[in-house]
């Protein structure tokens, strides 16, 4: 059983929700990312999504765009990120790590090299934002062969018949995009999310997590009961881009706040 499956099973047994934290690899530099990964786990993050910086991150709002730009100015690459995960695994053998990014950077490395290195270095899943179901064979077949989970997105606009097709191909968890928009947007509507997630739950046995538009304990608590976990990205990336002396302090406060909200019954 992989780390992702184990993590969600353990949480389900404890009747807890998963807190998934997204930061951009190499933002503001590789050593800060490594520090932040361990700190996030210490404060209550269950799954880490590492953003792979791309020059044209079309689905991202301003916060995460800036994170990508900061990481690129530090010359981060997918290869360097794979190395970073290896370093992370020296101390943490348990926390799942998912790489999230855009098709072009993954393709540039090549699916075989990526998938085998990712597996060897302790990556658990891959989420390629601009690779819809129809294009997924091109890159992720190799990842599947290596036993990496291929995380799939479901949007508010996704039709029911399409949800079924997507869920058939998904593994690890299903990521529900809570709103029509870009990351960090501000218009999450819990009622609509609930409707869609209920439908989703009927179609798949995989854990369902909710992302886009969750930034603190308050917004997390509004949707936590609807699904198996929440993803927080922009709010963490903002901290990573802030004053370097205070990253640890702010990250710690933020994750404590989120964690508390998720555990409240």
């Amino acid at each position: 059983m992989g780390r992702i499956e184990t993590t969600f099973l353990d949480l389900a047994e404890l009747k807890q929700k998963a807190l998934i934290g997204y930061i951009v690899s190499g933002d503001p530099n590789v050593s800060s990312t490594l520090m932040a990964m361990h700190l996030m786990v210490e404060e209550g993050v269950h799954v880490i999504e590492l953003g792979i910086a791309f020059s044209d991150p079309m689905a991202e709002g301003p916060s995460i765009q800036q994170g990508h730009e900061r990481a690129l100015s530090e010359k981060i690459s997918l290869k360097a990120t794979l190395k970073l995960v290896k370093s992370f695994r020296e101390k943490d053998k348990k926390t799942p790590v998912v790489l999230m990014g855009y098709m072009n950077t993954f393709e540039a490395l090549g699916s075989e090299v990526f998938s085998s290195t990712a597996k060897d270095n302790g990556v658990d899943g891959v989420l390629i934002v601009d690779m819809p179901l129809e294009a997924s064979d091109e890159f992720t077949e190799e990842s599947r062969k290596q036993g990496l989970d291929v995380i799939r997105l479901i949007a508010p606009t996704t039709t029911e018949s399409r949800i079924k097709k997507i869920c058939k191909q998904a593994s690890g968890y299903v990521y529900y995009i809570s709103l029509k928009g870009i990351t960090g947007a501000d218009s999450i509507n819990p009622k609509e999310v609930e409707k869609k997630v209920l439908k989703l739950k009927k179609v798949t046995d995989l854990p369902v997590v909710i992302g886009f538009g969750i930034k603190d304990g308050k917004s997390a608590s509004k949707v936590k009961d609807l699904a198996d976990g929440v993803v927080v990205g922009s709010a963490l990336v903002d901290i990573m881009g802030g004053n370097k002396e205070e990253i640890e302090k702010h990250l710690s406060i933020k994750i404590k706040d989120l964690s508390k909200a998720l555990h409240k019954t």
């Binding site: 791309f54 044209d56 689905a59 997918l78 072009n104």
Partner: protein, 400 residues
């Protein structure tokens, strides 16, 4: 089967190129658009509606003009100019927006967005939106806003909002990113009019089809005016819509050569250019698989061109396919060559072309003298040069 009928296939692919590489939120919207377009494109009433606008609003057909003086000066092939610069709003871009705005109306959309580089597509979009009474937002890179201030002002007078994009390289590609972000947010009521044969399926097909009126007219005009098909068609290629519009009806006419001219910038060896077909490699950007200017690690590179409309690191997927199957050739002209051609056509024929168009003319300058006088070249004058006056004056050190 002819080459033309094969593409795009049911997955929106031209060979391995094209396709749909977007975030899940947009997939259903693109499917809806593809279905709607498939239903309506051969509908008699719709076609008549588009045709009527092309005639009475755009002013089509545009003339095929024999550049007698320039041909004589070049001393080789006869050069004909397809006068897209005479269209309403001054470029070929209006052919596409006239069609897409009607498609938007049929789909019940109330808000129009578009990206623009040189501003021609922005003007063409704002124009049709104004006429149809639809809200319109144009995304434009901060850099391009500076070098195309005239068009920015035109867009504003037409009642559209211009949003300055200051992420990334602050040019066309970033404007396209931002337009996509808008679309993903407002997908229910918004129609995104992409201005080139680029982006996810079905856009490369839609934009090609609406622009192919250019090539269709050239077919008829060649028969009537010249008595034969041209030996060579030349057009500049940024995203590639004016070239695709001219080439498409000729794809199965094998006696007619097709040459697209990319922006060579300061020279291919300097890396400062916008010529993905000549110096790029395969990748995925803006929803399509195509040739891109990119690093080994898959990051999109900065481009450079004297013309904002060619300053784009990708190219329409159908061009990538035409290159690979050897049906069209792609070459480059650099900034200086384009500038020289701009001045020469203006002086010799009294026609001031856009700097984009000037790249195609620069190639004609080189190739026409090597050809027999019986040979015929048709070059697409994709737009007029008024918008570039500030850029040219700047280079000459003249303050207007």
């Amino acid at each position: 089967m002819s080459k033309k009928e094969q593409v795009p296939d049911s997955k929106g692919r031209f060979g391995i190129y094209g396709g749909v590489y977007v975030a899940e939120t947009l997939v259903p919207a693109l499917e809806e658009l593809a279905q709607k377009y498939e239903l309506i494109k051969d509908d008699k009433e719709f076609k008549a509606e588009v045709q009527d606008d092309l005639e009475k609003f755009v002013g089509r057909p545009s003339p095929l003009y024999f550049a007698k003086h320039w041909s004589k000066k070049l001393g080789g092939a006869k050069v004909y100019l397809k006068r897209e610069d005479l269209n309403h709003t001054g470029a070929h871009k209006i052919n596409n927006t006239v069609g897409q705005i009607l498609l938007a109306k049929h789909m019940g959309k109330t808000r129009i967005i578009a990206e623009t580089g040189a501003g021609q597509h922005g003007v063409a979009t704002a124009t049709v939106a104004a006429r149809q009474g639809l809200e319109c937002v144009i995304y434009m890179g901060e850099e391009d806003i500076k070098r195309q201030s005239l068009n920015v002002y035109r867009i504003k007078i037409l009642g559209a909002e211009v949003v300055s994009v200051n992420s990334g390289t602050k040019t066309l590609k970033d404007a396209m990113n931002e337009a996509m972000r808008d679309w993903v947010t407002n997908v229910d009521n918004t129609y995104y009019i992409i201005g080139s044969v680029a982006g996810p399926h079905p856009y490369p097909q839609i934009v090609r089809d609406f622009n192919s009126i250019v090539g269709k007219e050239v077919l008829v005009q060649s028969k009537n005016q010249i008595g034969k098909m041209p030996d060579l068609l030349v057009a500049c290629v940024g995203g590639g819509s004016n070239a695709m519009g001219l080439f498409y009806p000729f794809i199965d006419i094998s006696s007619t050569d097709l040459v697209g001219v990319e922006a060579g910038g300061l020279g291919l060896d300097t890396g400062k250019h916008a010529a993905p077909l000549n110096a790029g490699s395969e990748g995925v950007l803006h929803g399509m698989r195509t040739y891109l200017m990119q690093t080994e690690e898959g990051q999109i590179q900065n481009t450079h061109s004297i013309s904002a409309g060619l300053d784009y690191p990708g190219v329409g997927p159908e061009h990538a396919w035409l290159k690979d199957i050897g049906r069209a050739d792609y070459t480059t002209a650099n900034d200086q060559e384009a500038l020289d051609a701009f001045k020469e056509l203006t002086l010799v024929e009294g026609i001031m072309p856009a700097l984009e168009t000037a790249h195609a003319l620069a190639y004609v300058k080189k190739i026409a003298p090597t050809m027999d006088s019986e040979k015929v070249i048709v070059v697409n004058i994709s737009g007029r040069g008024d918008k570039d006056i500030n850029t040219v004056a700047d280079i000459e050190g003249i303050k207007l």
